[in-house]
Amino acid sequence: MKNNYKMVKNAVGRMVPDHVNGKSAVPYLGVGKFGPTGRKAAPLIATCADYPSDGNKVVADLKTALIKAGIKDGMTISTHHHFRNGDLVANKVFQAAAEIGVKDLMWFPSASFPCHSPLIELLDSGVIHHIEGSMNGPLGDYCSAGKMRGLGVLRSHGGRYQAVQDGEVHIDIAVIAAPTADAFGNANGVNGPSACGLLGFALADSQYADRVIVVTDNLIDFPCIPWQIQGNYVDFVVVMDKIGDPAKIISGTTEITKSPDRLLIAELTAEFVKQTCILKNGFSFQGGAGGTSLSFAIFLEEMMKEMGIKARFVRGGSTQYLVEMLESGLTDYILDGQTFDLEGVRSMRENPRHVNTSPFTSYNYHGKGNFASMVDVVVLGATEVDVNFNANVVTHSDGRLLHGIGGWQNCLFSKCTILPIPSFRDRIPVIVDEVTTLCGPGELIDVIVTERGIAINPLRQDLIKAVAGSSIPIRRIEDIQNEVEEICGGKPDKPRFEDEVVAVIKWVDGTIIDSVKKVKSD
């Protein structure tokens, strides 16, 4: 099945397979060029006659729930990453599946983390056939080495919602880890000993999966308020000792950077935003995890205080720093997709102005608009950018998969997209002739901020004019590239790949924007 495809060239000149895991696929056509037709997918019609009228859907354990949900070979099972690297449920789901004796499952996580590396054993033994979701760390290496039987499919958070809604991916069984739930299946992420914030990534799964299992370590009496997940979608409730370690949602990415170079980049970014007059009363921005992005928010906060202005809303990943801005009145709202630390969790629980959102509201491209395009400025990371401003966020410069897409592609639609990135990492130039994997088209990427200067996309003449004559160090992207190549000892060689495709990168509309090939081993 893996090799049953032809390679075709898409609108950005990348060769991509025309079939993915047995289904035909559309090559990327350009931003906004693919027009979907037809109706959305729909789950099975259920009847109350099949569910206990006292509302008690609790079953003995995960294994029982999976059996009652009708688990069988080849099914698609989904889990979510609200606990990030502290998730304890996904591994248990597939261990239970292994005990039941099913095989060839497709795992459809909203993201994977290094804590999921035990699943490599189950990929090897055949319980899991392949993964459609982000592949980090050991799972990324596994996939890059061509060891997975199916193709990996990487989607943005919005693309995951779109794929489920459009029927591209049919979830047979969704397992939702919920920090608090009642026996009916109402659930939320803000309460309980394992509170992790919100459960937005599981929204599509609750709405569209055939069977939905809620797993909790804090079962409370009906009603569970607020119900971020509605019990009316839920088939079974399972109680477990511990579903996750909320301390690990931090995952090392929510500390302010101490690196002087990165602080300089963050400061330049904030200066740029100020100089271009994006920073004005009622503006909005999206912060995120990652040291540079957090520092950017802190520099911005100082400027806002100095200028006496406030934001209408800030998009999370929330952290203590965004919470501080909310509580000191520097923003009216946090519209939060994901809490990155425990202060974020607390604030969401206590503050009605700290609002939980979902990939449906924020990112789904096949909807009647979404929030991402309404944000004034967003700062994002990247592993590589090319001279045409195309960017890579999933593979290392040596070609190995190392990150998921997350909300990255979806955020590119903001009014001003800035990538604050170092111009090289150790000896690895970040600005290249052509990105190893193209995840975001250059037409949507407006500004690259490096420690060696700022490059503005020539498509954004308005921004170029706005900073003309200022002290902002504007340079051509090629000039920064040349300087860095001189430092690093010339143009780098390209990583070497086999012909075999191991994963594809979906664009936000479900078309394929690039493919990832097996890394050649010497």
């Binding site: 002087p260 170079d261 602080l263 300089l264 410069s397 040596d398 070609g399 990492r425 150790d426 000896r427 690895i428 420690e451 060696r452 002290s471 001189e486 430092i487 690093c488 000892g489 010339g490 780098p492 060689d493 390209k494 990583p495 070497r496």
Partner: protein, 409 residues
């Protein structure tokens, strides 16, 4: 002559550096065993460089192991050179990277030396981006930050850094080792366009003279004409008492500075935040430097996390008469520059004095006066310095005279 030799560092925390081991073999040519995180990007280039460098040093049969954590070429070259010379201490020639255009700048006697950023001489990862933080000076340190066993390797690294790294507009400084070892350091830095040589633990003018004459000898040997300046660091009771004779011991001394860790230890007291114990010594340095027409530069502020403390310390240094301060982290630079910047009152007054001076000059008057007050020449000089600083810091436009003139009309 050894059979094996190593140089450089490896391990999980090492970045932008590499570890090199050379093991002689009887035959079979060179074998390069490379483990590098940038193998797919620069593996070929690393192997070529290593092979060429060993051939240059005449090592024909050897197994070379390289553990590379993203070392830039100038680092790799320095580490291989260190390993080769530890293998065979009779090797005298040097393997020099190209002297890049950006490393060819000159300096001036009178320039701002508000901030000087210390970089450990054997730690490559801080070097390459130091210039983007725009300190007035960057010090590649061969002395206290380098362990005794790595002095040889640090000299190669600092030499290569002087030839390859773009330090932006920063003055290129090196702190040599305490004499006599420091005299040996000179051959690694003088031919490679060092601007200022810092002489640590200086106690007599004689020491400066030794450094200066050796530096001049190397300059002549290399046919160099550019200026190389000296900054003695006074770090002992004796050094402080000899401050003026040190300050006047050579015409190429541009600044005098003080090292308080060693000084307080030498006089047998604890160094305090308040600094009462060193106030006399610091004033001595200021006085001696001013008397000799040099810039007095204050000691290093070493608590990287305490920005408020740094600001106070710089303001205090400024009030004592210092023109500059040492630092060890790029984030300290701006705080130092801001604190040394003249305030509005100072600028206004300085402008008035400068204008009065120029007017007096134009009218051929020997005496400068402002209102009913006579202005002495040193005050004019200070005002000029303040105005120049304000212009350099964008606190005053370069054409400020026009603005003042039109306001007066």
């Amino acid at each position: 002559m050894n059979l094996t030799a190593q140089a450089g560092r490896r391990g999980d925390t090492v970045r932008s550096d590499c570890w090199v081991q050379i093991e002689r073999t009887d035959s079979g040519g060179l074998r390069v065993d490379l483990h590098s995180k940038v193998d797919s990007l620069y593996g070929r280039s690393i192997r070529t460089l290593v092979t060429e460098e060993l051939a240059y040093f005449g090592i024909e049969n050897a197994t070379v192991v390289i553990d590379d954590a993203g070392a830039l070429p100038f680092v790799l070259m320095a580490r291989v050179e260190a390993a080769c010379k530890r293998l065979d201490n009779l090797i005298m020639k040097e393997y020099l990277p190209e002297l890049r255009d950006c490393c060819n700048s000159r300096t001036e006697r009178e320039r701002f030396r508000r901030s000087r950023l210390y970089l450990p001489g054997n730690e490559p990862k801080f070097m390459v981006n130091a210039g983007i933080h725009k300190p007035d000076g960057i010090i590649l340190d061969l002395e206290d930050s380098v362990s005794p066993l790595e002095k040889d390797a640090a000299a190669f690294l600092v030499r290569n850094a002087l030839r390859q790294i773009d330090f932006g507009g920063a003055e290129r400084m090196v702190r040599i080792n305490q004499l006599p070892r420091g005299l040996d350091d000179l051959k690694f830095i003088v031919p490679h366009n060092v601007h200022v040589i810092l002489i640590p633990k200086c106690e007599s003018g004689d020491q400066v003279k030794k450094v200066a004459s050796e530096a001049r000898r190397i300059k002549a040997e290399n046919g160099m004409t550019q200026d190389i300046y000296f900054m003695p660091i006074l770090e002992s009771a004796k050094g402080i008492l000899n401050a003026y004779s040190i300050a006047t011991s050579d015409e190429d001394i541009v600044a005098l500075t003080i090292g308080l860790e060693d000084y307080t230890a030498d006089i047998g007291v604890q160094r305090t935040a308040e600094g009462k114990e060193s106030i006399w010594a610091r004033s001595m340095v200021v006085t001696a430097a001013r008397a000799a027409g040099l810039q007095p530069i204050d000691t290093v502020f070493s608590d990287v996390s305490d920005m408020a403390g740094l600001r106070n310390s710089v303001l205090e240094a400024k009030s004592l008469g210092f023109d500059g301060k040492g630092c060890i982290h790029p984030r300290q630079i701006r705080v130092i520059h801001e604190a040394f910047a003249p305030n509005e009152d100072e600028i206004t007054k300085a402008k008035q004095i400068v204008l009065a001076f120029e007017k007096a000059e134009a009218e051929g008057l020997g005496v400068v006066s402002l209102g009913s007050k006579m202005i002495d020449p040193p005050v004019v000089k200070r005002a000029l310095r303040t105005v120049n600083l304000a212009v350099a810091l964008n606190l005053l436009p370069e054409n400020w005279r026009e603005g003042v003139a039109s306001n007066e009309k």
